[in-house]
Symmetry: D2
Amino acid sequence: MADKQVKKVVLAYSGGLDTSIILKWLQTTYGCEVVTFTADLGQGEELEPARRKAQLLGIRDENIFIEDLREEFVRDYVFPMFRANAQYEGVYLLGTSIARPLIAKKQIEIAEKVGADAVAHGATGKGNDQVRFELGYYALKPDIKVIAPWREWDFRSREALIDFAEKHQIPIAKDKRGEAPFSVDANLLHASSEGKVLEDPAQEVPDYVYSRTLSPEEAPDRPTVITIGFERGDAVSIDGQRMSPATLLARLNQLGHDNGIGRLDLVENRFVGMKSRGMYETPGGTILLPAHRAIESITLDRGAAHLKDELMPRYAELIYNGFWFSPEREMLQALIDRSQEMVTGEVRLKLYKGGVYVIGRQSPNTLYDQELVTFEEGAVAYDHRDAAGFIKLNALRLRTLGQRRKKLGG
Amino acid sequence: MADKQVKKVVLAYSGGLDTSIILKWLQTTYGCEVVTFTADLGQGEELEPARRKAQLLGIRDENIFIEDLREEFVRDYVFPMFRANAQYEGVYLLGTSIARPLIAKKQIEIAEKVGADAVAHGATGKGNDQVRFELGYYALKPDIKVIAPWREWDFRSREALIDFAEKHQIPIAKDKRGEAPFSVDANLLHASSEGKVLEDPAQEVPDYVYSRTLSPEEAPDRPTVITIGFERGDAVSIDGQRMSPATLLARLNQLGHDNGIGRLDLVENRFVGMKSRGMYETPGGTILLPAHRAIESITLDRGAAHLKDELMPRYAELIYNGFWFSPEREMLQALIDRSQEMVTGEVRLKLYKGGVYVIGRQSPNTLYDQELVTFEEGAVAYDHRDAAGFIKLNALRLRTLGQRRKKLGG
Amino acid sequence: MADKQVKKVVLAYSGGLDTSIILKWLQTTYGCEVVTFTADLGQGEELEPARRKAQLLGIRDENIFIEDLREEFVRDYVFPMFRANAQYEGVYLLGTSIARPLIAKKQIEIAEKVGADAVAHGATGKGNDQVRFELGYYALKPDIKVIAPWREWDFRSREALIDFAEKHQIPIAKDKRGEAPFSVDANLLHASSEGKVLEDPAQEVPDYVYSRTLSPEEAPDRPTVITIGFERGDAVSIDGQRMSPATLLARLNQLGHDNGIGRLDLVENRFVGMKSRGMYETPGGTILLPAHRAIESITLDRGAAHLKDELMPRYAELIYNGFWFSPEREMLQALIDRSQEMVTGEVRLKLYKGGVYVIGRQSPNTLYDQELVTFEEGAVAYDHRDAAGFIKLNALRLRTLGQRRKKLGG
Amino acid sequence: MADKQVKKVVLAYSGGLDTSIILKWLQTTYGCEVVTFTADLGQGEELEPARRKAQLLGIRDENIFIEDLREEFVRDYVFPMFRANAQYEGVYLLGTSIARPLIAKKQIEIAEKVGADAVAHGATGKGNDQVRFELGYYALKPDIKVIAPWREWDFRSREALIDFAEKHQIPIAKDKRGEAPFSVDANLLHASSEGKVLEDPAQEVPDYVYSRTLSPEEAPDRPTVITIGFERGDAVSIDGQRMSPATLLARLNQLGHDNGIGRLDLVENRFVGMKSRGMYETPGGTILLPAHRAIESITLDRGAAHLKDELMPRYAELIYNGFWFSPEREMLQALIDRSQEMVTGEVRLKLYKGGVYVIGRQSPNTLYDQELVTFEEGAVAYDHRDAAGFIKLNALRLRTLGQRRKKLGG
């Protein structure tokens, strides 16, 4: 709205129909130069077609940016988040939420490089992603202009959009003419689907919606056993084989896929105020979470573990709501990272028909250790008579309360 | 220790070898009258043998108390706790912890009835249960004397105990002579095992330790689909059939058992300060938790849900540590219960080889409702242009921070 | 904006120039019937002039509502908030925030009574009050139309407003022609000032801004000693004299005024995203808070007290942000109220030149009591040898950590 | 208790009667070598007499350790704690608690240097200090032996102690023969008193108990205005004059003393389970706290500030309970320190007869800045029309709740 004075805009461009329409709409509405940014976050699509599509729509080569962000995504966003065991509303692994800040950051970097005065994204006006993108933009470049076409344009229907596309010679795949039965977001951590066929939360998610996992029923009849190695809170190896973050997550995704792991059917509360029903597939993440908890279970002290647990919902909410680049998220991250120094070791897991079962864990830094609880010169650290005093003093205030109750005839 | 002046003691008595030894030890050490209390909490053992055993050990009939507490246990302890979605350290459903306060409460009630001046329990000196029992005793009757034989007596070995038993004509089952390969606690919510064969957390739990569940591999190849009905936060029916709390939980246990649901292998942090490795089977509870979360997902507002989530770890810790009868647990319960008024409806679940999958949920009180987001006279509650302002003001402080960073050349 | 179809609007009307302009603007812009609502919340102004002013502006008698809300305000809003010891950002007693929900509630009640389809308020577009009013309206009547003139009209300057007033024969007091050097909000709990002369946070607040308190320097050279009586968490008497809530708060205000108590110069963070500098005078509240803490100090158990303390910032933020009528505020209130049952007794305070000093406290429900810590039959509740065990078990996990550090050569 | 095999013990030795008795008791009971450690933490006593006293009691020169810890105390303990604005139970500035970990740390360092196998302290068996000392010892050296004479010896009365002293030629000051009317702890941050004459919380603290402050009534009739400079969260100057941490705190203490600032009469909840009444004088700290809050008010973002506020009670409780050397305290410190990078600037305060009033604050890093809220090219960051959308989306969930209530006829 407001002010149409835009000279150059960096668009988060997938190469698909919708962002192609946006590209053209930006050109025609703002009369501005459009710079496209297409990122590989592991969504499973090739990027070169996006380049050709952009060229076709008149974008000059120096204005086309394509980047493989998979390693950065997993190393600097996914893994730090998993150090917190973050789950939104008790279950959601934040696969969509965690990708947005990185895209926003890259758009801003490109904007500064090419001297653009605006950025644009293709998120709709009812969802969380518009918030996540834009909070990222504003945090990193407070004077940037933000264009959110879905909130601005006047297209009232799918047809109107298609008309516009045809009028501007945007190629339209046959199956994109009608409204999709559900919409998908995907990256190396997950795929999510929502909308239309999923809108009635009483109805089971149809099987064709899933793309990243076999169903538990289809998965093999024999369990797969794997070992994940951790260093300082991050996964570094599978079955003894060291891998880069993205390689490792991709491998876990394959293992999850094959064993029917990581499907989640959820009604969640959006930051913008309404409930929505979504379906998530997070095969690798669903394996990684209990593995990380398990290595923490022997390497983290109780005080550290419980503090993390109490703060986790807040941390997850910040990421869900789009506040990755906020002081409070960074403060919580400092607290979390401080705890992970000793979170090193190996966790054995059984994967079987949708289930992930921790069956063993060990660490050079273990706090669970027969020797550890015995102190030098044969003196034992734990004397069970100590328990009597421990209980007595913990009980003291409760006894005082009981005494008062009695005194008051209660 | 301390003071041996005890006239009458109420012992939590299972009828097994260990509490029979305790019974006799109380008689011989304190020269006091022993009152036995044996409760059915759904541990799966008959109670009448305990009566006969007590009689055999010289307990007079009026001093033998046997009670079926299953309904009270589920209605007043398990269900209130599930309203909170309580999980200790992210995963444990608190099956042992939640039973202790009820036993303590009943012992104190009997003590007041029979004029006993002491209570005794059979929990060891290294575990959490001694704390849970004794905090309960002291909270409810601050002047009670507490006898914890495992912390007091001088038996140094299993053999010494067996000798004592033989000397006092306590019958000893053959398989009880040696030390058990693991110890078990069981009630209607769960069975837990720990000790010996489980002590190396790197080693998988042997299959023979499990008693309440088939393994996922043994479970049927076809899913079972069930519907759980909720009213005001508590489960009230399965597949449309109304049941009492204990009946319902028993039915869920059967369903969980058959489908290989509810096994958990865990290293946890005890309140008394060390880590321990346990194995838990909570078949019904493992079904109930996601079902409760699912009915909440459509009936609880975001503010209510997130507040509950943030306070849950604290609430779970209180129960784990034995503070059921504390003002802070009661305050949290008041907060939680306040949120459950509208948590009514039905959840459909698929149970399959260890997995519990929510596949549908509906409620007369749903907050997820196409109509609800539309307000009267066709006015729509959600105008996507509102999102722009929402984002702008949420971003304002982040922009100010960005501006400062820029100004400082950061 | 949007839709100008309004038939009848209930305006929060003070009788002052600004809301009189709003009244006229509503009539001319919306062509709708205006209902005025004027409340006595203890702001210290007579209400009858507001009635005459409304009549003068053409409001029919049956559309003029005037209510004395002082008792309801203190009893149902101020006191419940003080049960929580609520302070926003560590210091602010929320005097403005807590009045808004009550006004909103009354406007909605009147709207339902007279069949109005809209409500309007005079809060500006940069502050928190607009949020507080409107969240209240929407929570209580989700289909209400909300008119916020300051966000909607086109007046660009004070002069334009004055022109409009003159054009419509609205009487203008001489000193209202220019922009005020600061703006004031007042009710029985406090007066606040902000704007213009206060805008530089490095500059001291000029003395003429204060209206409710003598300066500490002007206050008497001798202390005043008072006793406040509490019942179940609420103040009920001063120096033994029982008073209604509003009478009591008014009395504390006088005492605070006379002794130079309750001035606060603050830079705070608004919900709408920027910082603002305000000056608050809360004479009675500044006496009440430490008094309430003091009576809690002997009647609340540690567990209850600490839980309240940890949740207080959240509770205060909810009120500050306007979420009084939200499930999460109500849940927290349930928790807080649950703790106040025994908070009964008396607190003695010394008031002296700006300071409030607790000098004594007593209660029939005290948990601080020599007798209480001694239990029956001469047995002492506290045996200092218990402390050894208490410390040992609390230290166990720290020792284990130390042992690991040593083992790792750290 | 237990094991008397001690070779060399490091005693926290003040040189006073009580620790001299302990010294002798250690020699006679354990037959061990005693090493004395006397620290200057700003308690206001000379240290050389302690050296002579130790010599007199037969301690060899190489076993006498005396250290001036004032700078370390303020820099590494007091200031980090003030970054958190820590107050226990809403008011107590933790003056005693914060000194204990440093003493414990030094004792352990000396123990390692001299090859001692034990440490001892003079704290009683009913208080918090024993816990704080011992948790520190165990955390830093898990295999250390801890001797707590007050919990171990058999002296039943003050007289028995005095007899023991006389028998061992320990010099006894005349006024130390009887029991003190109250006991005192002091360091550079505060002096605290408790016991005997303070035991009835209904009775005002007698004036002679105060040692560090004039009474407000005695303080000058004219205010003192000062400016405190901060860098990265710590105070670095007064009235433009740069000072070391301890010098600065000493200067604030003088200012507080002169202006009657920092008295606190409190009933608090001890970690060991009972309530106690104490009197605290924290003159400098009572000035420092609002000053730190004030500089934070313009340099900390809302998200950072509120997160700190919510975690503060937990952080304060950890310090109070003696968990300075715990992972959770260190994690919280990492979070807090992360927030203080920009907390630089100056705060002006008026000190007057017991009161501390912030009257101005400024910072090169201020987030309160007219320019900051205006963004480049004249575009204004805040458009009040944005508020409408902000409110609408914040209200959405409340409207949905209202709609449900209406639908259900509520």
